[in-house]
């Protein structure tokens, strides 16, 4: 749907196994209700998220991408993978701008295993934000990929 | 004058030979009752008896060979046990249990047979027309009869009637005989339970109902109904449809 009112964004989330994925689990266990727009892909560490994955997601029509890992500075299960993710996402936001994709569509968040509510809030917030922003401009006809 | 409609399920080996029965259809209009000839009175499925009442019979007479004679060894004992359950069920439905009678007769003796029929017929005349007959037929009893029919069609009661003789006369799996009174008490309990569950099932298949509503209709304590619904849920007979304010409403599930 092109009309912003009916537009349901598709969000791909790369969640690290130890913190963010566990936070999403906690949202589940706590039955915290949030918008159903995210599709979670589990990775062991946010530092594992190759920029190529993110670009692929946008190419395939994701309206937004979330990378979520352990809190800075030292929650990372793998010592400092979260810093690596931070650096990559910052760089990638610039690249996205060159492609004509609003950098806000890529989001990096730190979610701990005890922050189920935070995870749910991020989801609701992202959905709202992307609804305002409209569909991924790489999508033609408001949905299909060229 | 009231002419009762009486159906007699009569054992081939108990039926006096002078009465002519064409081989097909097996039913012959006998002046006082319609006779259905069966190979053995033990063959009578309780479902058929209840169905016969549902279809408007004023009385059902079962006639078999006297104990211990049975052409099929123990058919008459089976008939006795089934009649017992049917009478228990009838008493729950509101239809007079006396409308069902099991009698013994010898094919060689015509007089006793006709005495039996006459006596039963007179009794039915005294009872009057079945409440299920006519324009003002009693819906409640009819639905009870249907529930009873579903109850006897269900596995539990069939198992118990089928095995009563073995368990009370011979030995159960543990090499013990179950005293008759004990078995009858158990039977009472299960007949009550199965009748109530099928009644609830029937009611909720027609309309979404709450525990309280069901309790009012069947005239039982709501606590008992809730308990049945819990058990029926685990047997997939019933399910919660939705909750209105503070009242859950249930619907029957199709029993597979």
């Amino acid at each position: 749907m092109n009309e912003k009112g009916n537009f349901e964004p598709k969000i791909v989330g790369f969640l690290c196994n130890w913190c963010a994925y566990a936070g999403a689990d906690l949202a589940g266990v706590s039955r915290i209700q949030y918008a159903p727009n995210i599709r979670i892909i589990r990775v062991m560490c946010s530092g594992r998220v190759d920029p190529v994955f993110i670009l692929e997601a946008f190419k395939d029509g994701a309206d937004a991408v979330l990378v979520a890992g352990c809190h800075l500075p030292s929650d990372c299960h793998y010592i400092n993978g979260n810093y690596k993710a931070q650096a990559r996402v910052a760089l990638l936001k610039k690249v996205l701008e060159n492609f004509g994709i609003e950098p806000e569509r890529l989001r990096l968040e730190w979610v701990s295993a005890s922050e189920g509510d935070k995870f749910a809030n991020i989801m609701n917030d992202m959905v709202e934000q992307i609804k305002r922003l409209g569909p991924n401009p790489m999508k033609k006809d408001g949905g299909k990929i060229s | 004058m009231f002419r009762p409609r009486i159906i007699g399920f009569v054992c081939n080996w108990a039926l006096p030979k002078r009465i002519e029965i064409p081989s097909f259809p097996r039913m012959k209009i006998y002046p006082k009752m319609q006779v259905v000839q069966v190979m053995c009175v033990g063959r009578i499925d309780p479902v058929i008896v209840l169905d016969t009442f549902a279809k408007g019979a004023d009385g059902v007479l079962l006639v078999g060979c006297p104990l211990p004679d049975c052409h099929f060894v123990k058919g008459n004992i089976q008939a006795e046990n089934k009649t017992k359950i049917l009478k228990k069920l009838l008493s729950l439905t509101g239809l007079e249990p006396e409308r069902l009678q099991l009698e013994w007769a010898y094919a060689t003796e015509i007089e006793p047979f006709s005495t039996i029929v006459d006596a039963f017929r007179n009794h039915i005349i005294k009872l009057g027309q079945s409440p299920l007959v006519g324009e003002n037929s009693d819906e409640k009893i009819l639905s009870n009869i249907l529930a009873a029919k579903n109850a006897v069609a269900d596995f539990s009661l069939r198992v118990l009637t089928g095995r009563e003789e073995e368990l009370t006369e011979a030995m159960n799996a543990y090499g013990k005989r179950i005293p008759q009174e004990e078995f009858d008490d158990l039977l009472d309990e299960i007949v009550n339970r199965e009748f109530l569950r099928h009644k609830i099932h029937l009611l909720t298949s027609q309309k979404l109902l709450s525990v309280k509503e069901i309790a009012t209709i069947v005239n039982h304590r709501p606590a008992l109904i809730l308990r049945q619904i819990a058990d029926m849920t685990s047997k997939h007979m019933i399910a919660l449809d939705h909750v209105e304010e503070t009242t859950p409403l249930y619907k029957a599930l199709e029993v597979k």
């Binding site: 589940g28 594992r48 701990s112 | 095995r163």
Partner: protein, 1007 residues
């Protein structure tokens, strides 16, 4: 002649405590006989709906442990069993066990349940607290272990229906009770507790009033697999209640009925039940909890209590209702109680009685058979310095039988008891066990992917929202999906069998389970596929519970759609999955214990008794820690004496190397192979190798700024008061103690647990030495849980006055011309009272060590919001961390009494022992690999790797990267950065993740 010992242990009781003890023992190389009276293990926990304080679904977290126990090659389950005779002594017992007949051949029964469907006889379902019926042939619950049916001989009429229907010919009516004699070296008792019989409190009308239920009944009512499918209903009429009252302390803290003790868990489960009830009820439900004291003394429990008040608007009424009456017309209930001095009558739709724990039934017989002593309440007699030891050597105790307690403490105690049981027979490790053998792995490299998908209903946890059958039908249409089915509980033991069968039947070479979180359930399913001859990495999981049904409860359509897409994306990944080998690493059988207090010393000693070398590192110049400052115990024992003996034992033990005036400053490496640095105050450093780390660094005391502390000599902490009492320097006519200093405040919201006990101890000591001294205790809630309640009663009886205060009416302390004055509100007489005490004793909190942050970062483990160490799972892994090989005990975990620290220390030792008892460990297989042909030798990965798991090697003049397998943790940072894509991340390859991304977003287009 050498003493003959047996490397086997008998565990009596198969609840969560018994299960934990059995698993720890079996994983440490000992044979275990797990005996339970019931037809299946699981105990009370299996009947609970949710668990506090995380609100985890009880069955969800228990099931993996049940399954692990049921499948463990070293655990022999003896269900419907009873211990009838015991001979021998520690190290070599002979136990005679009677096993009641199930009338079912356990090896033939496959748990299909057809018999139960056809059985004409019904009985009350005791598992559902008699709220529904079950057949005369039955299994307690769908996930039961072992999943073997049982005939209820009381009810069965012997009609032979089941025998005729059973496909496996498992029914054996002539099966007799049998007896066996087990040869064992030690025994652990975990028989649990008996719920209080609420009919004894006739004033509450339980048994007469239908809408008065017990808390255990309420658990079943709340449970999705309970009698009402999780809907809260009144028993009288099946209506949803709008107003529920919870009455605490029913059968506890009640001297009249002989149970003066506190049942320790009821406050928390009462709060939990109120919270969950509000979540389960579609209308606005009002919940009121009637209590004497809210005893939320455990780790982060007060947080939970606050949430109950603030987020869930649960009303708390400090009052013990006198009685309940019923309106016979509506079956509503009138609660008669007194609040703020006024008698009140309030109407409720339903009342839940929070029933306490009693000693298990027939415990006297068991005690007699075993020759152990019971305490005055018929619980097991233990002592404060040997909390898991019974009065008889070689027999240990854990769980509620030792004293009423909650699940995490039962679990910790269970591991602790395992450590003690092992110590008796440490020399016999490995002698009675068998190694688990798997089918040879099938080579699937030449096969097209044939994917099997198993979608879990999880009772109604998933199926209640997500249309599971629709998901199954959907995935069947996707390419490479060779098979798909729905399961009621995919995690149940019988489903594991089904999965294995399906792998064979359909030649599956990839398996996907769509159920809950891989964080808890992946190991179980991996093992299942491995048993069927598949490499465990050919398995994948989709989390459609935590990501669909539980978070989109009111959007079934969207939740179902999302579930399909999630499964679709994982199927895309599964097509590309490759088998991986798990590297084997050697284990250094040496332990490193941080902290030389009573916890650290005990952990070290227990491991040393198992034969392991231990480095015990203490910052101070001598051992002893916090206990050194304790002069006497509430229970009357002499702490100094005990400590001296313990220190002596530690010093004498040749296996323990003590490092005083030292700190651990570096911990590198990984489970089994740590390299740590010990730095001494004199500047020296030492490197040690160790296989495990135990953190026992303790806690510290809050330094008060309140109530003129430090400004007036009459104001002191409880510890200072204790010191004065012990040294004979105490002199006072009036003492006022103020509780909760530095705890239950905004800054430190949680309870510090031990201060109420400290106050009671000092109050009783004062009354013992100076009976004329007046003692007042100003408290928020007196939290003298468990048997400590006896001391609370004793103090009251001796004239100590306990006066409740609240945060909005805190006591005021002033110094008037050198004389202390305290003013506080007396709630019973409703008046302000002013006293001039000689001593004001502040019960100050135990707070986290400020150093925790550094330690946590050093060993890579998390802390709680409060700053204590955060264990792997609050309920079931109380002394583990998510990071393998690192364990936790004592006050570093949270404030606790000495006996609790001791139990935890033993637990940490037992858990650590399961690792260092092995010569080698199998490591994670999902690690990085370098394709040398593509590697340009740029060294980017080498610098990025946080574990130094990449080294550069030269071969034929070309420098390429190599992975050190044992060091690689599989984070994938290197793979994400490699410019030539030469690095492949096992199980998370670029291709796999990209395929997953694509399939997430795009419908599959079939060729």
């Amino acid at each position: 002649m050498a003493e003959v010992k047996v490397g086997a242990v008998l565990v009596v009781g198969g609840g969560v405590a018994g299960i934990q003890a059995a698993l720890d023992l079996a994983d440490s190389g000992f044979k275990v006989y797990l005996l339970d009276q019931s037809p299946s293990i699981g105990g009370v926990m299996a009947r609970l709906d949710k668990t506090f304080p995380t609100n985890d679904c009880s069955m969800c977290i228990l099931a993996p442990k049940l399954v692990a126990t049921g499948r463990h090659p070293n655990i022999n389950l003896i269900t419907k069993g009873e211990l009838i005779e015991l001979n021998g002594k520690a190290g070599n017992f002979e136990a005679r066990v009677r096993k009641q007949s199930r009338y079912i051949n356990e090896s033939k029964c496959n748990g299909c349940g057809l018999c139960a469907q056809k059985c004409p006889i019904e009985a009350v379902d005791t598992f559902n607290e008699n709220l529904s019926s079950r057949s005369a042939i039955y299994v307690d619950y769908p996930q039961a272990v072992p999943l073997k049916f049982t005939i209820d001989r009381e009810k069965c009429i012997g009609c032979r229906t089941c025998q005729e229907i059973c496909k496996t010919k498992a029914i054996e009516y002539d099966q007799q009770d049998s007896e066996t004699v087990l040869k064992i070296g030690s025994i652990i008792l975990a028989p649990g507790f008996e719920p209080f019989d609420a009919t004894q409190k006739s004033e509450y009308g339980y048994g007469r009033y239908l809408n008065v239920v017990t808390s255990l009944e309420f658990e079943r009512i709340l449970s999705a697999s309970g009698p009402y499918g999780g809907l809260v209903l009144r028993s009288s009429d099946g209506e949803i209640p709008k107003k529920i009252a919870f009455i605490q302390c029913v059968g506890s803290r009640d001297a009249q009925i002989g149970n003066n003790y506190c049942s320790a868990a009821c406050c928390m489960y009462g709060i939990k039940e109120a919270i969950i009830a509000k979540e389960h009820v579609p209308i606005k439900l009002s919940c009121s909890i009637f209590y004497i004291d809210i005893r939320s003394y455990g780790k982060e429990f007060d947080d939970y209590y606050s949430r109950a008040q603030e987020e869930y608007n649960i009303r708390f009424v400090r009052s013990r209702p006198a009685r309940i009456t019923e309106d016979p017309r509506t079956n509503n209930l009138y609660l008669h109680y007194v609040e703020d001095g006024d008698p009140r009558i309030e109407e409720f739709d339903m009342v839940v009685l929070s029933i306490g724990m009693q000693a298990p039934k027939n415990v006297e017989t068991l005690a007699k058979v075993l020759g152990i002593q019971l305490n005055g309440y018929n619980f097991c007699q233990t002592s404060v310095f040997s909390p898991v030891e019974t009065s008889k050597p070689g027999i240990f105790v854990c769980g509620a039988f030792a004293a009423p307690k909650d699940i995490p403490e039962s679990v910790a105690q269970a591991s602790g008891a395992a450590a003690k049981a092992i110590a008796v027979i440490a020399s016999e490790r490995g002698k009675e066990i068998v190694e688990k053998e798997y089918k040879p792995e099938r080579d699937v490299s030449q096969e097209e992917p044939r994917i099997g998908v198993f979608v879990c209903h999880c009772g109604i946890n998933i199926g209640g929202v997500v249309n599971v059958l629709e998901v199954v039908e959907y995935v069947k249409k996707l390419s490479n999906v060779a098979y798909a089915e729905a399961n009621l509980y995919t995690c149940s033991q019988d489903t594991q069998g089904i999965i294995r069968e399906r792998i064979e039947e359909h030649d599956l070479n990839r398996v996907i389970v769509a159920s809950c979180t891989p964080r808890t359930h992946e190991p179980l399913f991996r093992e299942t596929v491995q048993e069927a001859g598949l490499n465990p990495y050919l398995f994948e999981m989709v989390n459609i519970r935590d990501q669909c049904s539980w978070v989109h409860m009111h959007q079934p359509k969207e939740a179902t759609g999302k579930a399909k897409e999630l499964v679709r994306s994982v199927i895309a990944k599964a097509r590309l999955l490759k088998p991986l080998k798990k590297p084997i690493i050697k284990v250094t059988p040496i332990g490193l214990v941080l902290g030389g207090g009573v916890s650290g010393m005990t952990a070290a000693l227990e491991l040393a008794k198992q034969g392991f070398e231990i480095h015990l590192v203490e910052r101070e110049k001598r051992l002893g820690g916090h206990l050194r400052q304790i002069r006497y115990m509430l229970e009357g024992r002499n702490p100094a004496e005990y400590l001296a003996l313990l220190i002596e034992e530690v010093m004498k033990n040749k296996k323990i190397r003590i490092h005083l005036n030292a700190e651990v400053t570096e911990v590198n490496g990984f489970v089994g192979n740590f390299k740590s640095k010990i730095s001494y105050d004199n500047g020296e450093e030492k490197e040690v190798e160790n296989g495990i780390v135990i953190i026992a660094t303790g806690a510290t005391e809050y330094k008060p700024v309140e109530y003129l502390y430090g400004k007036s000599s009459g104001v002191m902490t409880q510890r200072e008061l204790e010191e004065k009492l012990a040294e004979g320097e105490f002199k006072a006519e009036t003492v006022v103690m103020i509780q909760c200093i530095g705890a239950r405040t905004e800054a430190q919201p949680n309870c510090a647990r031990i201060c109420c006990g400290e106050a009671l101890k000092n109050a009783l000591k004062i009354k013992e030495i100076y009976p004329e001294t007046e003692v007042y205790v100003l408290y928020k809630d007196m939290r003298s849980y468990g048997f400590k309640e006896d001391y609370y009663r004793e103090a009251s009886a001796k004239g100590v006055l306990f006066i409740n205060y609240t945060d909005d009416k805190k006591p005021k302390v002033t110094n008037k011309n050198g004389k202390l004055e305290i003013t506080f509100w007396e709630p019973i007489i409703n008046e302000e009272i002013t006293l001039e005490p000689d001593v004001i004793a502040l019960s100050v909190a135990t707070i986290p060590n400020p150093d925790n942050k550094r330690t946590a970062e050093m060993v890579k483990v998390p802390l709680t919001k409060d700053g204590f160490f955060l264990e792997a799972h609050m309920k079931l892994r109380p002394v583990d961390f998510q990071t393998d090989g690192i364990f936790l005990c004592g006050m570093a975990h949270s404030p606790k009494f000495v006996d609790e620290s001791l139990a935890q220390a033993c637990a940490a030792a037992a858990r650590a022992g399961t690792i260092i008892c092995k010569k080698t460990l199998e490591m994670e297989g999902a690690i990085a690999h370098v394709d040398e042909n593509f590697c340009g030798g740029c060294r980017i990965c080498e610098n990025l790797c946080p574990y130094r798991a990449i080294e550069m090697k030269e071969k034929d003049g070309e420098v390429t990267a190599h992975i050190i397998e044992a060091l690689c943790k599989g984070c994938g940072i290197c793979g994400a950065a490699c410019p030539t894509k030469a690095i492949t991340m096992g199980h998370f390859t670029n291709e796999e993740i990209m395929a997953q991304v694509k399939a997430t977003l795009l419908e599959e287009v079939k060729a």
